[in-house]
Amino acid sequence: MSLIRVILPYHLRNLAHVGHEVALEVEGPITQRSVLDALETRYPMLRGTIRDHNTLQRRPFLRFFACEQDLSHESPDAPLPEPVASGKEPFIVIGAIAGG
């Protein structure tokens, strides 16, 4: 079991009633999928807001970053960088800068 740090964008923090960063216990390999599954289990009000309900694909105006890398186009089952898996660095969900 690993303790993973996740940073959410402003509106999702408000939806989930959490602060800037949440800590999640994640079992097994640390991947985008396992982290987001754990996030949505702990905060079910976020289901459908980061990934499409049906396809589980990332919503178009959201990106995933960690360790100064854009991981948005990585496989959801690829291992996340070791500093994320060890809890040193957060997994960041960020909204695209667009709109008014």
Partner: protein
């Protein structure tokens, strides 16, 4: 004394405006869901403390919110935190913001295609909820009109939504196409005396009716005429902007179409134009006086190319003859340098003895007339662009 609660959806949140029956002094609550687009919020006639909200975002998608205390607190109906996301059988659980077109063999229809702007065919894709219509008798039942156009229903207070697939799949779907705002189902009218009968309207497909609780639907567009489409009197393809009905006279419907104001006296089977002396043929809102079924209100917009009011003057038009003869109502409304729009769900009436009429503008003003349109006052002037206005008439303390 009775009270009114005005529910306002805007581009950047929801606002609740409350007053006593005089409708002179107002309290403003909000923004609720600040920064989110609130396409619509509406209270349950069966339990006025129950309010459903459609909260959307281009980034984060669709959220459904619910209040059980008249808008003081809100929650997303659905699975409590920590519960598994799947059933013991491994199937995904329904969630309050999950709108999945029904393609099941038992109740669904194949997910066909609809027409795109360029005439090509596109598959149906859920985008947002435009309108929520709570049941008149059961607070836990509500209907949602969505983009791409379809009708959903919840029977558990918004936790799960299921499509009434007979509408999307009844056969004319490949001829439906989006209007400029998207292919949205924006109007839902529940017959107060016949729970099997529902009217809906879609831009740009037309009006539809079911007489068996949503299993089967038929287009009801006979008499509509839309220039420039290949067959101006086609069964579907008309850009209906809004429909309205007085609850005391079910079956008499009024319609603001992209062009023309229309009326039906036979539940939508036949329509006739009642535009009469209106200054333009374009507009979005239409509503009916709560107690006078022949008194109707529209707000003409200059044209489909210029989405603002005619001649720089914000003017409501009222007909007391069921159409054709229209009176301009201007007292209290800006009569120069005004270039706002009033969107399709942004007019409502209360049911106080002296019927109140309300509308909101893209300039962020919400106006109230406490005398059936004779005079108007702004309740608020500087909200974000208003998308929808609904009114609840509540018993006094």
């Amino acid at each position: 004394m009775s009270k009114v609660r005005v529910l306002v959806g805007t581009r950047k949140g929801a606002f609740i405006l409350t007053s006593d029956g005089q409708r002179e002094k107002w309290e403003v609550s909000g923004p609720h869901f600040a920064g989110w687009e609130i396409y619509h919020l509406k209270g349950s006639p069966a339990d006025p403390n129950r309010i459903y909200v459609s909260q959307t975002s281009g980034w984060f998608g669709q959220i459904i919110q619910r209040s059980d205390d008249g808008g003081k607190t809100w929650h997303q109906p659905g699975t409590p935190p920590g519960e598994p996301t799947t059933t013991p059988e491994g199937l995904p659980k329904g969630e309050s913001n999950k709108f999945v077109y029904d393609t099941s063999a038992e109740t669904g229809k194949p997910l066909t295609t609809h027409q795109w702007y360029d005439g090509s065919q596109r598959s149906w894709q859920f985008k947002r909820v435009w309108h929520i219509e709570p049941s008149r008798t059961d607070p836990d039942t509500a209907y949602a009109g969505v983009e791409d156009a379809a009708l959903f229903r919840t029977n558990d207070g918004g936790k799960n939504w299921k499509e009434l697939a007979g509408l999307r799949g009844h056969g004319t779907g490949p001829q439906w196409q989006p209007g400029a705002g998207g292919m949205c189902l924006h109007s839902i009218i529940l017959d107060p005396g016949n729970p099997q009968r529902i009217w809906t309207a879609i831009s740009a497909a037309g009006a539809f009716r079911t007489d068996d609780g949503g299993k089967n639907w038929k287009p009801i567009n006979k008499g509509l005429r839309s220039q420039y489409i290949p067959n101006p009197e086609a069964e579907v393809g008309h850009c209906v902007h809004h429909i309205a009905m007085n609850l005391r006279r079910p079956g008499v419907l009024f319609m603001q179409k992209h062009w023309d104001v229309m009326r039906s006296d036979d539940a939508g089977d036949n329509w006739k134009e009642i535009s009469g002396n209106l200054p333009t043929d374009f507009g979005f809102v239409i509503d009916v006086h709560a107690h006078e079924p022949e008194t109707i209100y529209v707000l003409p917009i200059k044209s489909d190319s210029e989405h603002y009011v005619h001649d720089g003057r914000l003017t409501v038009y009222r007909s007391r003859t069921g159409g054709n003869e229209w009176q301009a109502l201007t007292k209290g409304l800006p009569q120069k340098d005004c270039y706002v729009n009033v969107l399709r769900d942004a007019m409502a009436v209360d049911s106080l003895d002296k019927c109140g009429v309300y509308f909101g503008t893209t300039g962020g003003q919400v106006y109230c007339s406490a005398d059936a349109g004779d005079s108007w006052n702004p309740i608020v002037r500087d909200l974000p662009a208003v998308l929808s206005v609904e009114v609840q008439t509540l018993p006094g303390a």
